[in-house]
Symmetry: C2
């Protein structure tokens, strides 16, 4: 593969975050690793910032190994500057500032990214905050709109409304004129969701979401549910969906093993599905990226979609960033900043 020479000198070794004692009591340390080599269609980014995802915690705990071929280094999304590119990349130039979806390798000084999974950072979004966009936008667009086929005027229930994914989901569903109900764990989180555009925010510590919606929401039922909780939510979700409803899983924080009655899946013609981004082929991800470039990126450029940032941690504080996510107190995204 021909690699165009970088303007910036790229060292052979770079700083990265290593997982020490992978398992429940892991820790994260700054270490050195080889700077990534580029494959076909790839660019090398000097990383500004890396978005923290729950998958990073699972990987650190040894529960979520990276797919074959992916970097062992944590980090599924970054923002950065293109400093080197494979000769077959024509859509990006050296010096471009982008954010990118990765299949690993984000917690590092440099990261390789597929050019088709890079997006130019909109002018109104700062170069660090942009790293909060890729995972959330890809996840919301693919699951809610592509798999879930959420249609104008339909009602969507988003569990975990104040998460990085949830805060993005509220904004996008609002733009597409959907009625939005979310669940969240504190009054402060509920308020944040309402401020972002949710029509109803249910504090699940105070109210059972099923009976709350049945008793307080005019529609009583919902068309689409984005679930990252699983466990005892699953049967309630199925009861809450109207005819032709769609239940979409993007995580199972409370577990995926359940005792359920699937009869309503048939009688209500429900669709149960879900996805993880990382398990999808590069071709699939590129297809999703094309659809996002067409349907959503103009909305990020125009300021209608903004990253919601909970907190930022400097590179040496990666473990504190993970602890913040584990605390469950965050609203929006947590970032790891390379400066």
């Amino acid at each position: 593969i021909n690699i165009l020479e970088p303007k910036m000198k790229v060292p052979e070794l770079m700083k990265n975050i290593d997982i020490v004692n992978q398992g429940e009591s892991y820790s994260l340390n700054v270490s050195k690793a080889k700077t990534p080599k580029l494959g076909k269609g790839e660019v090398l980014l000097k990383v500004f910032s890396s978005g923290i995802n729950r998958a990073d915690i699972f990987q650190s705990q040894g529960k979520y190994p990276p797919p074959s071929g992916a970097s062992n280094i944590l980090g599924l999304e970054v923002s950065g500057e293109v400093i080197k590119k494979s000769a077959d990349v024509h859509t990006l130039n050296i010096g471009d500032k982008v954010c990118a979806l990765l299949s690993g390798g984000g917690y590092a000084e440099y990261a390789s990214a597929h050019s088709e999974l890079c997006f130019l950072i909109p002018e109104n979004i700062d170069k660090f905050s942009a790293s909060a966009l890729p995972e959330a936008i890809f996840t919301i667009w693919h699951n809610i709109f592509q798999l879930g086929n959420l249609t104008k005027n339909e009602t969507i229930l988003i569990h975990g409304g104040s998460s990085g994914i949830g805060t993005m989901g509220i904004q996008i569903a609002k733009i597409f004129k959907n009625r939005i109900i979310v669940t969240a764990g504190t009054e402060e989180k509920c308020e944040a969701c309402i401020n972002l555009g949710a029509d109803e925010a249910i504090n699940y510590r105070k109210n059972d979401f099923l009976s709350y919606i049945q008793n307080n929401v005019p529609t009583k039922r919902v068309d689409v549910i984005l679930d990252m909780v699983g466990g005892e939510y699953i049967e309630k979700n199925i009861r809450l969906l109207r005819y032709n409803g769609r239940l979409i899983f993007i995580a199972f924080i409370n577990g995926s093993k359940v005792n359920i009655d699937l009869l309503k899946v048939m009688t209500k013609k429900l669709i149960i599905t879900g996805s993880t981004l990382r398990s999808q082929s590069l071709e699939n991800k590129i297809e999703i990226a094309k659809s996002i470039r067409k349907n959503l990126w103009p909305l990020a450029k125009s300021g209608h979609i903004k990253p919601v940032i909970d907190s930022t941690y400097s590179f040496t504080k990666a473990m504190e960033a993970h602890n913040r996510m584990k605390s469950g107190e965050h609203i929006g995204k947590i970032l790891l900043i390379n400066k």
Copy 2:
């Protein structure tokens, strides 16, 4: 509603089959009921034959009440002659011989049917056997092809391959160039499925279908599963599906309450769905009918799709027809003949 006058005299009362002692030990008796009145878009059929469906048994047992507005009389599909029609029906003429999907009322001398759910009987199919087509064709087309999006060269597993639905599914999937695996309960049934075009027929009394497919079928996994069994099949189905696989329920003979792990739904991006015909709106059924008229009816006319008839019973032997279905010994459809 204007009703065009029939050429044949229609009596006020007609023969029908009544459920006596609805419940587990029900019986079926010939009785008298009012001849149906016609609504907008409907035609009155002098019934030649009525197809027996498992739903009829569930209804007789009191487990499957007819939807509101539907006839209380059993029977979800018939063949018959149009002897009267609502004035707004322009697609059918008095004297046309058709088969029709009903939401009830088939076990009778006369039945009303929506004109859009009637299909002219192809010349190569006799007027009795035609009553075996509607439920099977609608079920297969809607579930496997519309919901399941079965695509050329994909592999489909049909549980209950020798049932009325199964025998139709094999024929249609064959035409659309799919690899077809079925399960059935005897060697004779397996042979019938192979003769209809199945590539593999697994006798589930001799072999576990999951390990059989994993060890003996080159693809090892399947793309689409049509399941009418449920119960312990469900987890096995989920394990057997490849990435992007679809699991579609049309019945739960072994129950719908299960203990399962839904993790693979997310990691393999599966779709779990299903439907019953009767619970769908008239508009939905008409949409399905349009697609069938375009995609499948020409294949019935050309002799590529044929009803597979297990046995026929005269009108007074309805209970024997039900007992035949309950025995599970049938291959193909059981019909109730009005002669």
